[in-house]
Assembly symmetry: D2
């Protein structure tokens, strides 16, 4: 006890796929305190798994109080996107079954992928049924145009984002000389359209593949960047913010007058009536502006559009079904 246990789990001996676990039993004063888990997915263009994005990342999270694992997936002559994706799935299964004595917080399973590993991480968060709780993407490949370059067959992953995609933290550089920054931007846009919470730090300077951007992962001065290296702490802060987030489910029924537009139109019948009276809401950008306000608030902001008369008519139309739910 009071140490980090390193364990290997092999998925496919020939292809050298599997997961290396770093089970963290450090300094748990309270024997029962559970620690979150982070799965590290190195890059390497699906040609290899980069050591610079493997154990250094895992240990960097271990000293921040995480259990960690490093995924080795099908690459090189075993290159096969579907098999790589299955490696990701198997890793999640392994994590689920870690011995109870290691006190893994099973509601706090994050994954972090770099470059091609970011591609695989995004694929796991969009294409797999079982998904991690949070996703971190470092200078990820996203688009099919880049999948082609990596010689794998995969869709543009931004088009696979859905309401089930986990909250995402994305970091990369504008000057990335390998994966064009549009890969990051398309993915952020897809998260936004699906209302998936995200945080994103795109630094202007920096080559592709910076990893930690400190002396642990690079001797070359071009691969050391003290600004970029903040992503590690930022990602830890971000995970804690999401995990400490108080549940804000409103289980109580609210009258329509207390409900915001988004809540009102979640009911299809009401949606139609709202759109009839306030046709501007059909405009997606306009809808995003107004959706979080109640009709009364909107009357205050834009009285000529959200007239008292229209609000009364809407209320009357929906009469008898005043309560949401």
């Amino acid at each position: 006890m009071n140490m980090v246990y390193k364990k290997e789990v092999i998925f496919d001996e020939e292809a050298n796929s599997g997961i290396t676990l770093y089970l963290n039993d450090l300094c748990a004063e309270n024997e029962l305190r559970k620690k979150p888990f982070i799965l590290v997915i190195p890059g390497g263009g699906y040609s290899y798994c980069s050591d610079r994005e493997a154990e250094p990342i895992a240990l960097s999270y271990v000293v921040q109080g995480f259990h960690a694992g490093v995924l080795r997936y099908h690459v090189g002559k075993y290159r096969d996107f579907e098999k790589s994706l299955q490696d990701g799935k198997k890793a999640l299964d392994v994590i689920e079954q870690i011995d109870e004595k290691f006190n893994v917080s099973h509601d706090k399973i994050a994954i972090i992928g770099f470059s091609a590993g970011g591609h695989l991480a995004a694929a796991m968060c969009t294409l797999l049924k079982k998904k991690p709780t949070l996703c971190i993407l470092g200078y990820p490949a996203i688009l099919s145009s880049f999948a082609e370059v990596m010689k794998i067959s995969a869709p543009s992953l931004d088009q696979c984002v859905s309401k089930d995609t986990p909250p995402t933290f994305l970091f990369s550089t504008f000057e990335d000389n390998v994966v064009p920054i549009e890969n990051s931007l398309y993915y952020l846009k897809a998260l936004e359209e699906n209302d998936i919470p995200f945080e994103s730090h795109i630094y202007q300077k920096g080559l592709h593949g910076l990893s930690l951007a400190n002396s642990l992962t690079g001797d070359n001065p071009k691969m050391i960047d003290s600004r970029f290296s903040h992503w590690l702490n930022l990602s830890c802060e971000w995970m804690n913010l999401n995990w400490s987030h108080k549940a804000t489910t409103n289980s109580c029924k609210k009258s329509m007058i207390e409900s915001c537009v988004q809540e009102i139109i979640s009911d299809d019948r009401r949606r139609q009536k709202v759109l009839e009276l306030f046709p501007k809401i059909q405009n997606k950008s306009y809808y995003k502006i107004v959706r979080k306000y109640t009709l009364q608030q909107l009357h205050h902001f834009a009285p000529e559009e959200f007239t008292n008369d229209k609000i009364k008519r809407l209320t009357a139309l929906i009469q008898g079904k005043n309560e949401i739910g």
Copy 2:
């Protein structure tokens, strides 16, 4: 000397538009050292100019070694987007004519705008002929959908970005409850498409209008956020990085074999021939991946596409015009 001089310049007395200058003569050991200038443009939905995004911002940059100015533009009953834009232009004129004794670095003029002020800043960087050197946007309004809400007539500014738009630093929050985050994302995409360098920090948490997010600009705990407040130092670092950037103009002529794809196709005649031989380059995303490499490098990466044969044919076709320029 050795102090900050505060001066008012009035553009339109009735509309209360003008600029407040904070000329920074602090501690210039070397009398000749020039300081950069930053123009602060407060938000307020074109209804008013928010004090929370005015003097506190200017002084925060003054203590980082900047001259600063705060713009007051046409708002409220004088609301008129064209006149506000002209206020911005006049401010740049005033800055250009500051007395030499204050040692303004006239090649280092940045502007920073918040919310509606970010809208005006982005407009200055896209619609004005005379532009600042660098642009900083804090939770900016960009789209015409939001211009409409602010009751001004303005195009979606992302559609106005061009090769002349200055490098941009953008910060905002995913949870912005007033200006939808898509405003930020559309602007970043436009910068990317025009190859304008940018840096962007989008935090997940945080209401609209955080300003400095410290005790200087907010008593309400909801308006204080130590993570978000890093944007100030990040923006200073970013400006310094851009201003210390060594000039990298390649004035010497390069043979085609030494030129990257982007350079080769900058000539229209050659562009056509390149596209004939390598039609995949017509795909915009594919082009972004290959553009910074030479044909020889691409032959190394993707020999089946960039065959030696095709490269030779291209060279022959362009025969007699080997030199770029």
Copy 3:
């Protein structure tokens, strides 16, 4: 309103002594929110008042939410330690009488002095009857050996520290090439001996007179030091910690068994009896180790010294006066 008001108060026109006030009316959402005040005392060996340790420091605290003032005291041909000290006293009087509308927190008056200004600040905190609430000393002169070099007549200020000296934050550098670092160490030892809370950051590297150690106060690369420059934020955090400190006065009477050694011996009669039974407590270093524990706790730690028998005898001796107070 919503700006910083700069006002001059003159003490002695001929000697050019006085205080420049920076009254901070920025962004007080809640009109009634009070701001702390910090008085800045520049150095200059009592020969002059350094501009590099004046307005740049004041404004740096203003943007952290403080009211500020800069003291100009008797220096150069008006050099006279007693008169300088009176300048300090007058400054505290002026601060006390600032118009109520500026919402000064009169229980939160800090002073910060640099080098010779640190000497004057330490003198104000030890020799004046009216003292500030908190004291910050930057590479201060303390000893009479250095007073002599500055051609003033002043005692070694570490010998003037008393129970009334305010909590102190001290920063300096080991490599200081003007004021030997022993000046800092003697003052810290005096604070410790008087049980005055302090925080101290002594950096190894750095010349004398670094001030903010950023580009605002130095062009010379030797005067810029990103590590040293952290003192500013550290000092703000430290002031907030001291000011938000919950009052921990124990107004309730505690039985002797619940009292720690320090509390028990605060009564002279009991002190004598404690020392008789536990003579090792006469050793100052030993006393510092045990003073915060109760006799029961000490019995647990060191049963052979704090025997149950002795503890019972002490209780019996003090019989009839069990209650502290």
Copy 4:
């Protein structure tokens, strides 16, 4: 390769003393790049070795690019200060003999000790003949008064500091509830008197035994402190500053006129003459002020003391031995 190798070396099986090595082969792009080594010495009052100050510390330095080791020394029923000190010596011997393939920088061997481990670290840096290159002390016990409490027989280590003691980084808290802060202050004073470079961060708040003060070493909110936790990065920066320090040995002979006072009086014969002419230099505090200046510089600063006449007389007296060395 590309991983951290953990190895045990046992000194005394019965007493469970020995060293655990963490040999860091992570991401050495350049196979020949050497890494510094840090030896971690946990506290525990010589009763036990605290897990909270062992592997978490070692791994935290590993991810900063260090090789690391954890020392287990004689404690509890094997408590014996001399044997503990020999354990420290053996650890340095083991480090010296680590296989060349691990690329240890043998001129960069640091040790870090906490509390009683800080006592042992300070003892190694003062009492052993073979010493580490740099020393880091966390809330250390120093004085014999505390040695007595820990039931070991050891001198006050501040009294053992000499010219051979390595540069030292010391961090602790004023409010330490176990080891009185005077322990730190006496050690700093001893370093100063011996002109040993040091850096020191004494935070006001914080209980004894904070270790990393993050979630890795404490569940209890009282043991988490984001300000205190900066010591880790500060210590890494400090080690790098000391190790990158350019050699400044002046091998060339300098004329007396170019030499500073400290250099002049390093010769005993000259020392006597200097003290005759400038008796104030006998005062230790005065000497510390002037020692780094040449006589000409001192003439400029204090012409009435360092008169041209006296300087000429000194030069004449030393006539025939003008050159230093």
